[in-house]
Symmetry: C2
Subunit: 276 residues, 2 copies
Amino acid sequence: MNELALVDWLRETAGIGARIVAGIGDDCAIYRPKPGEDLLLKSDQLIEGIHFRSGLPPGLIGERALARPLSDIAAMGGEPRVCLLSLAAPRGQTEAWIKSLFRGFLRLARRTGAALAGGDLARANRIYCDAVVCGAVPRGQSLRRDGARPGDSLCVSGRLGRSWERRIQPRLELGRLLRGRATACIDISDGLALDLHRLASASGVAAEVDRVPLVRGATIERGLYGGEDYELLFTLPEGMVPPQGTTRIGKATRGKPGRIRFRGRAIEPRGYDHWA
Amino acid sequence: MNELALVDWLRETAGIGARIVAGIGDDCAIYRPKPGEDLLLKSDQLIEGIHFRSGLPPGLIGERALARPLSDIAAMGGEPRVCLLSLAAPRGQTEAWIKSLFRGFLRLARRTGAALAGGDLARANRIYCDAVVCGAVPRGQSLRRDGARPGDSLCVSGRLGRSWERRIQPRLELGRLLRGRATACIDISDGLALDLHRLASASGVAAEVDRVPLVRGATIERGLYGGEDYELLFTLPEGMVPPQGTTRIGKATRGKPGRIRFRGRAIEPRGYDHWA
């Protein structure tokens, strides 16, 4: 299958999304913003041998590639609108394999309203995905990571400590619900300790954690430092009841910005640093 | 250098662009569109061993990574606004090397108005870049590849047949100038023959090429099929004078959509197919 044929197949399979003036097949995708919305942009890589092991089913690779940046859109309270996929794959991958990867990607894209409207194709010696999502949020209402104040409740969605194999459910509905409520929000993509450190540093607060809701069988170590949760970590004004499916795990405090204590003892802001 | 330190350096070095509500350092970049503009989105990969040879100076890699999607923005008449860079590099690359790559990227970003506002960092066994550009164009005025009509003049900017080593100058000014004038436009990233085939197919016309302006020393073969020109190929209504620095090379005709003749003989729509 050459590039022209694959692009034709993609154009037919992806369809056209709302407010997409031009999708797959022109030099760029064209998106017509709604009046009064801010746009959120995020790209996220998923690389064979780094983010996933060789031999993973292609549909899961495609789904995962998109789920990662969608989780960032969720963390800012955004609604996905457009997405692009840059894909490089070895020559040995069959046409069926490539199409399965795109089908996994497109299933999640359709379910979340992110119309696939472009990207780039190349060859490489490993499977390499970079998914880009453009989301939207009413002007000025995006959730940021720098708004937590001392006294705010610290909350997480779901349960932590999951392993890679789980499918990510980007917390898009929760993100939207938190608009106008949460004072700060971030997604836990590199582990609770490291992402909490980022939120607290950006907000100029310290943090105290008393409890961590864990999946069955997970250790507290994994819950604090595991890097594959993609849940939302957010702060609420003191006394506000956390939404259903979320848990209060501690609070923001005065203190050295970014310092974290777990049950009274200081913990390191380590986690999954893809660059270290 | 860990990821937090590199992100801090990038935030300081990149600065903040116009209408960027949040740049490097939050989950997503936030861009506030101007009323009445359409947004153009494009991602383009640049991979060691595929798009460039190992050992290339990092500043040139960074510049090239951004120049490729900027050329697509130019081809649609857009003005660059925001960009992201997803970068994966082997552990062996030094801090100085990484910073040089970003400096090359940022130099071109500043010169063209594309504010670096985010991206993703990872490790891989090869150098891998995926640059994303979000550009803008007054509503409905983007140049498309599907508007050429039989009788239109076929034109290109600059001279063709260059080799990889040349730096790309994205034709952003020309693209803007062509808004409201050109009936169709595409950038020549995969060779004149293949990209002309794409434009003609999308427009439902055939094309006749009489001449190809070449750089000194280039063969006509290279001018037709070489894949590294990044000039603009566009059509103008019959009789309209081509802008300065551009050349009329032939015309669009009635005939089988996508069929190309060069000096009377049919030529194959081959070129640089990154996927073949």
